[in-house]
């Protein structure tokens, strides 16, 4: 602590003058006010503003609703039997009827997002949803899907961070695919499905390098395969 500010008696008025100098200095600097309604704040992508729902990913397993400390998630679903495809058996899958989150109750802890095994819930940094009536704070799945569309991509992790499990698994799968593709060199190029896969894998690897995401699953899905196939496949596996 400097002597100036210590307990020692100082001249009358010097403290006030000192304060006024600070004020005057600050007055000359530009203000740091955010012009909120005109200028939207730039929020970090981890910001916990609102929870979005990717309906295709939801298997209505109910983990989020069970783990929520506030019990603010409500899920209704029914089972549906898919007709057997050739050579297979009939499969059952859950069909989501309603998915609501009561944001008047939500405490924004992110446990639901964390426990969701299929990344159906994601954080968006949107915050503008104050309402005149508390009932409107309960968002149904349509509204939640709209929020999901606004979710920013996750930030790249620190170089010193360990590779997330999903990314590691994806990388290994890519290496395997690449090895497989490299082995039958003699096959006509472009015609073999393996080569196609390898090309897709390379593309995915490029994407991943650009964005070393932690939750690589959704990104990879977009990059490699059409979403419906993968989505139903995962759901079928989970249910059977």
């Amino acid at each position: 602590m400097t002597g100036r500010t210590g307990r020692r008696r100082i001249g009358i008025g010097t403290g006030l003058v000192q304060g006024l100098i600070v004020t005057a200095k600050t007055m000359l600097r530009p203000s740091h006010t955010d012009e909120y309604p005109d200028v939207r704040p730039s929020l970090p992508s981890r910001s916990r503003g609102v929870i979005g729902l990717v309906q295709e990913n939801c298997t209505s397993c109910g983990l989020c609703a069970r783990e929520c400390p506030d019990w603010c998630i409500q899920i209704e679903a029914h089972k549906e039997t898919l007709p057997a495809v050739a050579g297979g058996r009939a499969r059952q899958r859950n069909v989501l009827d309603s998915f609501t989150i009561d944001f008047s109750l939500c405490m924004y802890c992110g446990i639901c997002v964390e426990v969701c095994p299929f990344d159906a819930l994601i954080w968006s940094s949107e915050f503008e949803y104050a309402e005149y009536d508390i009932v409107d704070l309960t968002h149904d799945r349509g509204r939640l899907s709209q929020w999901a569309a606004t979710a920013p991509p996750p930030p790249p992790a620190d170089p010193a961070a360990v590779e997330p499990k999903e990314v590691g698994a994806a990388r290994k799968a890519l290496e395997r695919a690449a090895k497989k593709a490299a082995a039958p060199r003699t096959a006509p190029a472009g015609a073999s499905p393996a080569a196609k896969k390898a090309a897709a894998a390379e593309k995915a690897a490029a994407v991943k390098k650009a964005v070393p995401v932690e939750k690589a699953v959704p990104v990879e899905r977009q990059a490699t395969e059409p979403p419906e196939e993968r989505g139903t496949g995962a759901r079928g596996e989970a249910d059977s």
Binding site: T33, S104, Y132, I134, V135
Partner: protein
């Protein structure tokens, strides 16, 4: 024990004003909201942050210098209202002069939030006072409060005070809307005019007896 001071009532100007005049009155009310911070918990910190230079809600005409409820037009309940605190909250709300507005800031004051299963927390401030705007968040960002203020100003801009106070008739605890979503779109009308006006006579001004 307390002295009945009486509540300042709305003048003829307010209740029977023609449209253009009302427009001017609403415009004036809209941009000079003296705010009374009912700071209770975490959200109060975000309220203070909103009043500071970075977010600065004085830009919107929200003035945080009300010395007490009597001078205030807007009450922001930010934080958990416990059952012990609830009578004080109600009392201070009653001391505010008409027209008055309430913003419920944060999950705790919306519906109890993280303390939804606590034995001593009021599950929502709207059980004891009427709320105009609900802000979700735990705590909401300062920008969320700014958005709520803008929203409240929009509400003030096209309101008719006579409607506001005749419609509030049943008293604050009463049910004025369905408990569940009425329609799949999630739009539930705020007012229930037929039910409200049925019980209206006799209690048209603010309820004075605290519960």
């Amino acid at each position: 024990m307390t002295t009945e001071l009486g509540m300042p009532t709305l003048g003829v100007l307010q209740t029977a004003a023609p449209h253009p005049l009302r427009l001017v009155l609403n415009w004036g009310r809209r941009y000079s909201l003296w705010v009374f911070n009912f700071g209770l918990a975490c959200c109060a910190i975000e309220f203070i942050a909103t009043s500071m230079a970075r977010h600065d809600f004085i830009r919107f005409g929200v003035i945080p210098f009300a010395h007490g409820p009597r001078q205030a037009d807007l009450m922001v309940t930010s934080g958990t209202v416990s059952d012990k605190m609830a009578p004080a909250l109600r009392r201070l709300w009653e001391q505010m002069a008409e027209p008055k507005y309430v913003i419920s800031f944060g999950a705790c004051s919306n519906s109890g939030g993280p303390y939804w299963d606590s034995y001593c927390v009021t599950k929502g401030v709207d059980q004891i006072i009427p709320v105009d705007v609900y802000v979700p968040g735990c705590p909401p960002r300062p920008e969320a409060l700014l958005q709520a203020i803008v929203k409240l100003q929009e509400k003030i801009a096209d309101e008719n005070l006579r409607d506001r106070y005749t419609r509030r008739a049943p008293g604050v605890g009463a049910l004025t809307r369905g408990l569940v979503h009425g329609s799949p779109t999630g739009t539930v009308t705020v007012s229930a005019p037929s039910a409200a006006s049925g019980q209206a006579p006799g209690s048209a001004d603010t309820p004075r007896s605290s519960s």
